[in-house]
């Protein structure tokens, strides 16, 4: 039973808040990455909080940009890259003060949503994350 959970090569996305496991899976699919064999763990016991979700993806290496993106939605997230059964890299994404093009501006009237200009944001709060568009100044919680 336990062996099913172990991946020898791949990525473990850990410390997702309950409910974020499935969201995380869907978001990666939407970005057309992490389409390899995936297990989503839900409501796992956690030392940090009551329960957590976790996502394990076989034969896949999560890039830094996507890691930052996930941290915007789940600031506590940690990412482990596994090779030959060992953790070779631990990513604890640092939420930057400014981000570019990671999500579209949520304001439908914003110029960045009309003619393909790059979206750019100031991070006004880091936990929970709030973004403020550099152009229309709309402030929102990324989803």
């Amino acid at each position: 039973m336990k062996s099913m959970h172990i991946i020898h090569n791949g990525t473990v996305i850990d410390h997702l808040p309950p409910g974020m496991g499935i969201r995380c899976f869907e978001l990666l699919q939407k970005r057309n990455i992490g389409t390899e064999a995936t297990i989503v763990f839900m409501n796992m016991p956690s030392s940090k909080c009551a329960t957590k979700d976790m996502v394990k993806i076989q034969d896949f290496r999560l890039d830094e940009e996507t890691a930052t993106y996930l941290s915007m939605l789940a600031p506590e997230v940690t990412i482990n890259i596994i090779e030959n059964g060992d953790i070779v890299k631990k990513i604890k994404p640092q939420i930057p003060d400014e981000v570019q093009s990671i999500v579209p501006c949520i304001n439908s009237r914003c110029i960045t949503n009309t003619e393909g200009y790059t979206s750019e944001f100031f991070v006004t709060s880091k936990n929970p994350v709030r973004l403020k568009c550099k152009y229309c100044e709309f402030e929102f919680k990324p989803e």
């Binding site: 501006c105 304001n107 009237r109 914003c110 110029i111 960045t112 009309t114 003619e115 200009y117 568009c133 550099k134 152009y135 229309c136 100044e137 709309f138 402030e139």
Partner: protein, 308 residues
């Protein structure tokens, strides 16, 4: 002179010093206007007015300002019929027009468009309204009018009334007034209150504690400045609109409770928030406020062109 002013997109881009410098220049522009003599401060310079949506009032005020400065104007007042309607991007239009002019005034329906324009222009951009987001020259002339009448912002009781949720230009006015030391009173129908993030910014960044209420009559007695804005019928729904009508409409009856030296402002055009009977009252200065747009815009254009 505000040296580092490259474009004018957002009222909060100005430091307090730049703001007061502009007001000083506006005063001297007023003197020029009073003399009624030709002026050549901007001789040989061209102002482009790119109005992607019609706003005759604002466009005429800008064109008047440039013509009074001795410059020339070109542009369009409606995007249909121009290359814009054929789908040219804002970036390309700006690149082209920057070659024809020395300063560009932009009115565009999309929020943040003026900031985008600065990325593609080597000449200064003036934001003449980007959707519901900002209308900083309106804010500038509002502040100028208040200062001219009251000599200071510090400790002034300013009431802003109307749709404070969707009327985003009231947001930047509120922040600017908070920065300058005014006390703020926000009157709006239920559901159209000033958004939380503006309140938060006022409280935590500027240490201003605004008073929030639903009927302008409640605090009108202590207001030094009453800033009226529109409430659109469709924002409230018919029943609500009729129910709360009295709480954000100013008539002589309400005016009676107002301080004798208060001033009544409105960005115009109004749609019934101020009854015509109020116009004759000396406290009603919204037409003078609109007129102040000319010296203020003259000051801004001259400053951005570096000719003063």
């Amino acid at each position: 002179m505000p040296e580092s002013l490259k474009s004018f997109i957002n009222i909060s881009d100005l430091t307090e010093k730049q703001l007061y410098d502009l007001f000083d220049i506006a005063d001297s522009m007023q003197e020029i206007l009073d003399k009624k003599e030709p002026c050549d401060i901007c001789k040989g310079k061209i102002l482009a007015t790119l109005f992607y949506e019609p706003s005759t009032r604002t466009r005429l005020s800008f064109e008047c300002a440039m013509l009074r400065l001795g410059g020339k104007v070109l542009g369009f007042s409606d995007a249909s019929g121009s290359s814009v309607s054929k789908g040219e991007s804002l970036a390309d239009t700006i690149r082209t027009v920057a070659g024809y002019s020395d300063v560009i005034t932009l009115r565009h329906p999309h929020e943040g468009s003026a900031r985008v324009a600065t990325l593609y222009s080597h000449v200064p951009i003036i934001n003449a309204g980007d959707g519901g987001h900002q209308h900083p020259t309106q804010c500038l002339l509002d502040l100028y009018t208040i200062l001219k009448k009251k000599n200071t912002f510090a400790g002034l009781n300013v009431m802003i009334s109307g749709d404070l949720k969707f009327g985003r230009t009231t947001h930047s006015l509120a922040i600017a007034l908070g920065r300058l030391g005014a006390n703020l009173y926000f009157a709006s129908p239920p559901g159209l209150e000033m958004p939380d993030y503006i309140i938060h910014q006022l409280e935590s960044d500027l240490h201003v504690q605004p008073i929030i209420f639903h009927d302008l009559r409640e605090h009108i007695g202590i207001a030094d400045v009453v800033y009226m804005t529109r409430v659109q019928r469709e924002r409230l729904g018919e029943m609500e609109y009729l129910k709360y009508r009295g709480s954000y409409v100013l008539g002589n009856e309400t005016l009676h409770e107002t301080k004798s030296d208060a001033i009544i402002l409105h960005p115009l055009p109004r749609v019934g928030e101020i009854k015509p009977e109020v116009d004759a009252d000396p406290r009603a200065i919204y037409f003078e406020q609109a007129y102040n747009g000319v010296p203020v815009r003259m000051a801004l254009i001259a400053t951005l062109l570096g000719v003063i």
